[in-house]
């Protein structure tokens, strides 16, 4: 459902994403791993059509993102990093606005809002101004926005960032549940999350894909490694290690 081929993004002289290719099928949950600044968010922004790639192609459900962006975006739900929201709106009016942009009007709109308010446990704050929400609620409101039209493709940039352990668990199981009939990509820093929710994981370092496989097969990449944590540390080079080597 998601096909990414030879994606390259150059900012000035810096190559942020360097020839990244992968595909995600229906029923798969792909974990996106990598150190800070590895190019995770940039890749996701290209997949969602926010950034224009320097070269390469993105195809969602058979629709080319560069050729027919509006059509491709209809099939997509996206939770950007830091969960941006219009601070002057209430939770319900924000979701209503997003529903309208997704082509939901009248009764379908009301139904969609009620559904996601219920799914994301937002009923108690539905008429509260977004400005006054705590971080967990803000995050869930933006998450609710991404699934309001029940999209085939879901792209989540750090969906559990800033949530408490209970909420993290809830979001993780929600992703796993929805993963059965969608194609989902989500990025994270938390490696247990990958084992808990993903059917496959990709590790990105300095703009390149350095590993791609099921969480179990990734563990076997590095001999003697017992956890994904060790694998992650040995195949992505932290800046400090590079300095030491030099």
């Amino acid at each position: 459902m998601i096909q990414v081929k030879n994606l390259i993004k150059v900012f000035g002289t810096k190559v942020a994403v360097d020839d990244v290719s992968f595909s995600v099928e229906k029923g798969e949950v792909l974990g996106f791993l990598g150190p800070n600044g590895a190019g995770k968010s940039t890749t996701m922004r290209m997949v969602t059509g926010y950034f224009r790639p320097t070269s390469g192609s993105v195809n969602l459900c058979g629709i080319d993102m560069l050729e027919e962006p509006e059509l491709a975006k209809q099939r997509l739900g996206y939770l950007p990093e830091n969960a941006p929201l219009y601070s002057d709106m209430t939770v319900a009016s924000f979701l209503g606005f997003c529903a309208e942009l997704r082509g939901l009007h009248g009764a379908a709109r009301t139904k969609a809002i009620d559904r996601v308010l219920d799914m994301c446990f937002l009923d108690s704050v539905r008429n509260q101004s977004v400005d006054t929400l705590s971080k967990g609620y803000r995050h869930r409101t933006c998450f609710a926005q991404s699934i309001i039209h029940d999209p085939d493709v879901l792209i989540l940039d750090e969906p559990t960032d800033g949530l408490d352990p209970n909420q993290k668990h809830e979001v993780r199981s929600m992703i796993k549940r929805m993963g059965k009939d969608k194609a989902i990509i989500f990025s994270t820093h938390i490696l247990e999350e990958v084992e808990a929710a993903c059917s496959r994981a990709i590790i990105i370092d300095r703009g390149k894909v350095v590993a791609d496989g099921t969480p179990e097969s990734l563990k076997k990449l590095v001999p003697g490694a017992n956890s994904l944590d060790e694998v992650f540390r040995s195949i992505t080079k932290p800046d400090t290690a590079v300095k030491k080597a030099a």
Binding site: R45, E70, L71, L85, Y86, E100
Partner: protein, 252 residues
């Protein structure tokens, strides 16, 4: 335009319009606008002390200067706020074309301004009560005034697409609107013409032709010339095109 395009534009318009109503900025600006228009007309132009109740020279004459400051104050949030909050990333990954969003937002600010301008009806009422004014110049004056405000708003929209700071957008927009008003000033043009070497006069006059002012005053005189209307409309269209360019450059 397809049905979907209209619905998208309307959705963006509605959101933006409500955002104005929910923010104190709108009320502050409308109050300042009314105080300024009424104050200038009654105290500086001494509308009531004169026998001449022409609105062109006592009421509309102040509008360009008021708009130079107030239109950027209304328009500065249009795109800067989207950049600052990061909601631009949401908006641009929705199945909405940049044009639908640009037009929707601009229309919201335009309707807000229409409300502000409509609230100056008391002055028209005063003039009609005291005398028997021609309705022609009043109507063309209002059209000119509204078009002038729209041109300043569109320029502000273009500048706000390039920056995440409302303050930066405000300052640059005011400066831009001020320059484009000043270059049309006949006194200033004459001074510059006298200062530059011979042969450059044509260039100075050519630049001064781009000022909003000439076109504005032609219209307030009651001469409803299509040329002047087209001038303002093309300024608005070009500024919205630049807005699109600004949004693209941020996403490149």
């Amino acid at each position: 335009m397809s049905n979907r395009a209209i619905q998208n534009t309307l959705a963006v318009f509605k959101r933006e319009f409500m955002a104005y109503f929910n923010s104190p900025v709108f009320y502050v600006i409308v109050v300042i606008f009314l105080l300024a228009t009424n104050g200038f007309t009654f105290f500086f132009s001494r509308l009531l002390d004169s026998d001449d109740v022409s609105l062109a020279t006592r009421f509309f004459v102040w509008h360009p200067w008021i708009y130079t400051v107030l239109a950027p104050a209304v328009g500065m949030r249009l795109w800067s706020e989207e950049h600052r909050l990061g909601t631009i990333e949401l908006l641009m990954t929705m199945p909405v074309s940049p044009w639908q969003a640009i037009v929707g937002k601009f229309l919201a600010a335009a309707v807000i301004w229409l409300i502000g301008l409509a609230l100056t009806f008391l002055i028209v009422g005063t003039v009609s009560y005291l005398g028997d004014p021609d309705s022609g110049p009043i109507i063309s004056g209002y059209v000119a005034s509204y078009l002038y405000a729209m041109a300043c708003l569109a320029v502000t929209s273009a500048i706000s697409a390039f920056t995440r700071s409302q303050v930066v957008c405000f300052i640059i927009s005011v400066a831009f609107c001020l320059v484009i008003a000043l270059i049309g000033d006949p006194g200033l043009t004459q001074t510059v013409v006298n200062a530059v070497p011979n042969g450059m006069e044509g260039i100075v006059r050519f630049i001064s032709y781009f000022s909003f002012m000439d076109h504005f005053f032609e219209m307030t005189k009651g001469i409803f010339v299509l040329r002047d209307v087209l001038y303002f409309v093309s300024v608005i269209v070009v500024a919205l095109l630049v807005t699109d360019l600004g949004l693209r450059s941020k996403r490149a």
